[in-house]
Each structure stands twice: as C-alpha cells, then as structure tokens.
C-alpha cells in the first residue's frame, strides 16, 4: 500500500515535470463552479426544469429520478417508459447523489444531508437537514490539472471541464 503510494507520488512528480517543458500551453483541466445562489441551504420545489448535466440515474417504484450535477433531482413518472414525464424538480445546490427509502430522499447538499418526502412526488416536502456530514472537496473527482479553489468566491458546488493556462493545482 505504502509502495503504491510512493509509486503514485513519483508518477505525479513525473507528470508535473512533463508538463513543465510545455510553457504556457493550454491544457485540459477542471475549474470550480461556485454557487451563485445567495443561500446554498435553500431547497426549492419546482414543477420541472430542463435536464442539463445528468450525473446519476435512480429507479424508485414507478419513478425515474435523475440527478442534474450540482443542481438537484428531476423526478419523472415512468409508469409509461415510452413517455416519461417530469412531475417535479427538487432544487438542491451542489447535489451530486441521493438514495430513496420509504418515500424519503436522502441527498447531499454540499456539506449537509437533506431529507425530502416524496409521498406525493409532484409535491415534494422538505423534512430535515443534517449539518456538516460531508467534507468539502477542494479538488475535482477526476485526476489532472485544475484551477485552485479561491474560497473568497463562494462555495464550490461542482467542477467543469475547461482549458487551463499554466495551472497551479494538480491531482
């Protein structure tokens, strides 16, 4: 395990060295998406929202649920699989994942967990928030170069692919 760690470190160093001899070249990488919402704790129920960047799929009873990365959860009535229809969208800033049991959605909202009741899927009801469960991740999920996080610009709710010039942060 330790060996693997060292090998990885050496790999990283080698990676940095390789990237050094291409000065000012643009490289593929990731940049943080900062929350534009004043209150990242506001969970809002909407009738529907366009699907932008689907990240997770989930089946619960006759519903097909889709996480839109960093935005929230679409709920589609999937009783007719040839014609799924959106019955509601739960706007959860920073949301990346969720699971459902007994009509309760358990979802991440940046560092918190939120619980939403979907007994009536077209009228979801916010139930509870458990604070500070998840760590703040200051780097993207994927490896490579990324734009360093600037905490003064807000809370990081996701990462997007971009071209970076002379990136300072690597993973």
């Amino acid at each position: 395990m330790k060996k693997a760690g060292i090998a990885f470190l050496v790999l990283c160093t080698a990676g940095v060295m390789v990237s050094c001899d291409k000065d000012k070249e643009q490289v593929d990488g990731w940049k943080p998406i900062y929350s534009t919402e004043a209150n990242t704790e506001t969970v809002e129920m909407k009738a529907s929202e366009p699907l932008v960047n689907p990240g997770r799929i989930y089946v619960y009873e006759n519903y097909l649920m889709v996480n839109d990365e960093g935005k929230g959860i679409h709920i589609y009535d999937n009783s007719n699989q040839s014609n799924p229809t959106e019955v509601s969208f739960i706007d959860i800033p920073g949301n990346m994942d969720f699971s459902v049991r007994n009509n309760m959605i358990y979802a991440d909202n940046i560092t918190d967990m939120v619980i939403v009741d979907i007994t009536d899927a077209s009228q979801p009801v916010f139930k509870n928030r458990i604070k500070d469960i998840f760590p703040v991740q200051q780097f993207p999920d994927e490896f490579g170069a990324f734009e360093c996080v600037d905490a003064s610009r807000g809370t990081v709710i996701g990462w997007e692919k971009t071209k970076l010039e002379d990136p300072k942060c690597f993973r």
Partner: protein, 265 residues
Amino acid sequence: MKKLRLIFAGAFVLGALASCEKEEVTTNEDEVQVMPTTKDQASSGYGGSLSQFTIVDNYLYTIDYRTLNIFLLDNAENPALTESIDMGVGMETVFAENGRLFVGANDGVHIFDITDPRSPQEVCEFNHVTSCDPVVANDNYAFATLRGGTECGGSLSQLDIIDISDLDNPQLAGEQFLMNPYGLGLSNVDPNILYVCDGYTGLKAYDISTSGWNIEMVMEKGDIDALDVISDADNNLIVLTRGGIYQYDATNPVDLVEKSVIPVQ
C-alpha cells in the same frame, strides 16, 4: 519518458498484487440476495453503478473522497450517523451485493462484509493501477472498469474481471480493452450479459458465461455516449448518456429497441 515507463511497469506489478488482510467471510446463506437491478425490498430504490449512495435494508452507505459513512434510517426523517470510516484513499463508487459492499476506489476494489450492517469489515482489496473504477458483482465475480488517461491518473482503460469466489485470494480472471469506460451493470433479463458504458464509443454488452479471458463482446451500440446503465424490471434498460436518458426494450438483451429519450437541453 523512460522513467515514466519504468514507473508504469512498477505500477503494473503492484496492480497484480491482491491482498486480503482478514479472515474468510462467512456468507450468510439465508441472507436475501441484494442485486442492484432488483429491489432489495419494496421500499427502497436502486441506482446505477456510479452511485456514491446506496441503501441496504435500513442502512444508508455514502462515500466521498475520504470516508465511508453509515447511517441508520430507522427514524426516517432523522438518520443517525452510526459510523464513519476514514479510508485514506479516493473512493468513487459503492455497490452492494449479497451481504457485501464493493467500493471502487482510485487504488482498486475494496470489498466489505456487511453481515453486521453498521460495522463493515474490509475482507479484501484488489489493487490495480491508479484509475477511476466503478464496480459491480455477482456471487463469484466482480467486474470493474478502469478509466485511464490524464483525467484519472492511470494509463490504461479496461474491464477487469476478478474472481472473488475465494475472498482470501481474489484473482484477476480476465481483461477487456476499452476506450473510455464509465458505469456498468449486469442484465436483469440474462445474468450472463454484462453491459459496459464505454463513453464516446457507446454501450457494449459482453457474454460473461465463460467469465474470464474468453468473455465475448456480443453487442456494440455506438450511437450513444454512454455513462451508466440500470437494467430495470419489465425488461427495461435505462442508459445515462451525455445526450440524455435513453430507455430501451431489452427483452432481447443484445438487441435493444428504443422506447424514449429525455434529452439534455
């Protein structure tokens, strides 16, 4: 460059090492089999293989880049964090099957026994080169995709087939070369069919009846940029793609008939 190659060679040697630190797991025969593609009980749902949250009975397991958290859901509106395990390694996905948790991490596949659901015991670890790797499993084999390239730290993209029939000694049983793999899932219609989402090269299906080096690709659907898959009840196949959510009639699991698309806008 030579140095790099050497390091990769070193990483491969490491990759072949599989370690099991703890004693053999006693699988509870009476345990209800938990498949990702069937409901573990009437009241819970199920996700694709990229999930970082999964529910088994009345426990919710979540992973993030460093911790495996276990929540007891008996009080549905107020889950209780019962355990938090610092893994010391980047984790990508969590998958539950037959009393085990399979965690896809940057350094390989970690297998936990959850006979005592609130206290997962790591029984086995199958290391490989650094990469991104969702994992699914049946009783005897785990299937993990390794997505290499600069994004994920490794160099190779492939499907690993790991024989887990002896958890003390997990063995690499086969490999398939892939281009840009993400999620994967076993067919609900035919347990010998494994779907693999190979990113921009599409959705592939493999016949795994010969599990190992001889598994054969039996379908390649190149018109979608496939990221994850759920083989649902009613022969329905749900595929997450960059373009939207596709649903197919998979009555014939290798001849998919499109039913609907929820397009990305």
